[in-house]
Amino acid sequence: MATMQTESRRTDAEAAGWQPAWADGEESPLARLTAEQLEQLAQELDAIHEEVYADLGERDARYIRATIALHRRLVLAARALLLGSRYRPLWLAGTASLSLAKILENMEIGHNVMHGQWDWMNDPDINSQTWDWDTASPADAWRHSHNYEHHTFTNIRGKDRDLGYEIMRVDPQQRWHPVYLFQPLYNLLLMGFFEWGVALHDLNFDAIHAGEKSKEQLRAELKAIGAKARGQIVKDYMAFPSLAALAALVTSRGSLASARTTFATTLKANFTANIVRNVWAHSIIFCGHFPDQTYTFSEEEVADETRGGWYVRQLLGAANIDGGPLFHLLAGNLSFQVEHHLYPDMPSSRYAEIAPRVRDVCRRYGLPYNTGPLHRQLGTVHRTILRLAFPGGRARRKPGAYRP
């Protein structure tokens, strides 16, 4: 992990509309720890990473291969079921399998492989540099905006463009603007079309606006999004509906009506699966940093940040979601957002194993360990989006030190 660059960019932050100070004057736990404590904490957290990396092997390789194989089998099953999508039960079963497959592919496989979590295998296919996913974001652009920008500058107001994604007010310290009155509405739209939102977000409108991005680069990036869009549209809205229509034509001995119906029902099924995946990804990802429990940081607070400080910022800025193994799998283990932010390159299957040790560190250093059930986390996120659409708003009460 790179140590943070700390050159002051206050003017940038102000230009982006952030107000400089923490609203209620509430002290963040970051300020309580001494330099020695931070260093010790860094050593402890580094040790967990080292231990896990030394232990990676056969079992982990089998896990990611099995998960990838499961995704592909789900896809095959879904596409086969949807050949008969003009029958309601097949439509339902096929759409459900396809939604699950897309969720698994984006969350547990794509996001994590592209983080480099499996690069230690030295496998040419399961590799952050060669992987591509079934979503609108081109892999390269996403890796930059997510892996580098978001994971390095997590929750720093004015530097982490994922804080509200440049279009929403999710922190009371962000200056209000009348456009935010519409944010509950466009948040709903974003939910359904999340993948397109992420793809556009990767373009970095701030940089474009400030003239930091050349025309050629912007053109190249738009072209890449275009290629991703074409791939998805051809596959989900042309190729498979046509294939299903052809199958219907053959099985119904030439009934054009059946073919037409099947084309439409398959297209609807694929569209639904894409929307289901988008809503799910949006919900899980918004629960990562926007629940009431999380802190945001000013650039002053994190100036000259040490490795220990970086770790604490990740702990305070992220929130987990409680759930069982199947839930964590479908959440791409981003329900272990805290662990993921401490160790973005650790195989996701290990987060559940190290979580008790991270909680123990939190207990001993008097730090919070943010977590809660999905309905509560998501509830607070949407409440914030509604409340902060209007002027004002205050930081919510924070949970305080973790107690088992």
Binding site: T3, E50, A61, D119, W120, M121, N127, K235, M238
Partner: protein, 365 residues
């Protein structure tokens, strides 16, 4: 970037069909689904299935591999890059092909010698089972017989240096081109001679092949005088030498002194034993992309030192062949561990597996 196997020779119709199916599998490839059925069907890279593992000596095995697509062929003496997964991690190594390129069953063979502290050879020696899938990289190497096979040949091998020479002998035997071949092979004991039974049978047939086993446990090492005694006309023969660095150096000096240098062919890819002379100062390494700092001694590669310090670095063969490990040099000088040459310009791409820092270096990795 992680190394991949060689692109296989796939029939054109199949390639076209797969290309057309890509609209249905995007952003994956049809291969990704076909591999669920059989991983050998990959058209992205050539893979092979281990057919048999045969014990040769107490520390060498022959691994017989059936390629998934038709074997593109090789010249006797060449090596193949082999990718195997050990404990979840892919490793690439180069091994001399010991099989005859004209094998009827289409299989290829390699004969690794056990390096107990290594990673891949212990795996091939005792853990790999028939049915295992391996990746097959390119066939490389210039240590091969000339187009027109000379009538008089001399082979000097030692230990596992027999491996590239074995495929030459098998080819010569198949093509009945074994006119006048002298083979001096060094091993500690008779049991340590890899392919001992086959070599002795070839010798017993008296078909133009004469074998001398230099058992170093009894006779000591092969000396120039010893070679003179065993093969008085060595100067007139086309010679092929493969073995540990000591043997290579001694023979190289002998041919330079008394023979004709262009008649001597040597295989360089055998594991290097770095000379004291090639060890340099070592130094501190900064990997700029990851921020990792490492220190390397004069004989440790940048790659090894970086891995020891916890950096995740690209790598392949780890012996200076495949260029999977290259990184851009930002500043500093490095020493090539194979030759001792000190080099390095800012912006130069260098192989981290065979270069050690010579003073402080920075790399864009």
């Amino acid at each position: 970037m992680a190394e991949r196997g060689a692109p296989p020779q796939v029939p054109r119709a199949r390639r076209t069909a797969l290309r057309m199916a890509r609209s249905f599998t995007w952003p994956l490839l049809p291969d990704d689904y076909l591999e669920l059925v059989n991983p050998l069907w990959s058209t992205r890279e050539l893979r092979g299935r281990v057919q048999r593992v045969e014990r040769e000596t107490r520390d060498a095995v022959t691994v017989l591999i059936k390629p998934g697509w038709e074997w593109p062929g090789h010249r006797a003496g060449q090596y193949v890059r082999l990718g195997v997964e050990v404990d979840g991690v892919h490793h690439w190594r180069a091994y001399s092909l010991t099989s005859d390129a004209g094998r009827a069953d289409g299989c290829i063979a390699i004969t690794p010698k056990l390096v107990p502290q290594g990673t891949v050879s212990p795996f091939l020696f005792s853990r790999v089972r028939p049915g295992a899938i391996v990746r097959l990289g390119g066939v490389e190497g210039t240590f091969t017989l000339p187009e027109r096979v000379p009538r008089r040949l001399l082979f000097v091998s030692a230990g596992s240096g027999i491996t590239p020479i074995m495929s030459m002998l098998r080819e010569l035997a198949r093509e009945r081109a074994m006119h006048d071949v002298v083979h001096v092979h060094s091993a500690r004991t008779a049991e340590d001679v890899i392919f001992g039974a086959e070599l002795r049978a070839l010798h017993a047939r008296a078909g133009g092949y004469r074998l001398h086993e230099q058992l170093t446990g009894v006779h000591g090492r092969l000396t120039p005088a010893g070679l003179e005694r065993l093969c008085a006309d060595w100067r007139e023969r086309e010679a092929f030498v493969c073995g540990p660095a000591g043997v290579m150096r001694a023979m190289g000096e002998l041919w330079a002194r008394e023979g004709e240098r262009e008649r001597l062919h040597v295989e360089h890819f055998q594991p290097h034993e770095y000379d004291e002379a090639q060890a340099g100062a070592g130094g501190a390494i900064r990997f700029c992309a990851s921020g990792v700092l490492a220190d390397a001694g004069g004989r440790e590669s940048i790659l090894a030192a970086g891995e020891r310090a916890g950096a995740t670095l690209p790598y392949g063969c780890r012996m200076g062949i495949c260029h999977s490990c290259v990184g851009r040099l930002r500043s500093g000088r490095v020493r090539d561990l194979r030759t001792g040459r000190v080099h390095g310009q800012p912006g130069e791409l260098l192989q981290t597996c065979v270069n050690a820092p010579e003073g402080a270096v920075e790399l864009d990795l």
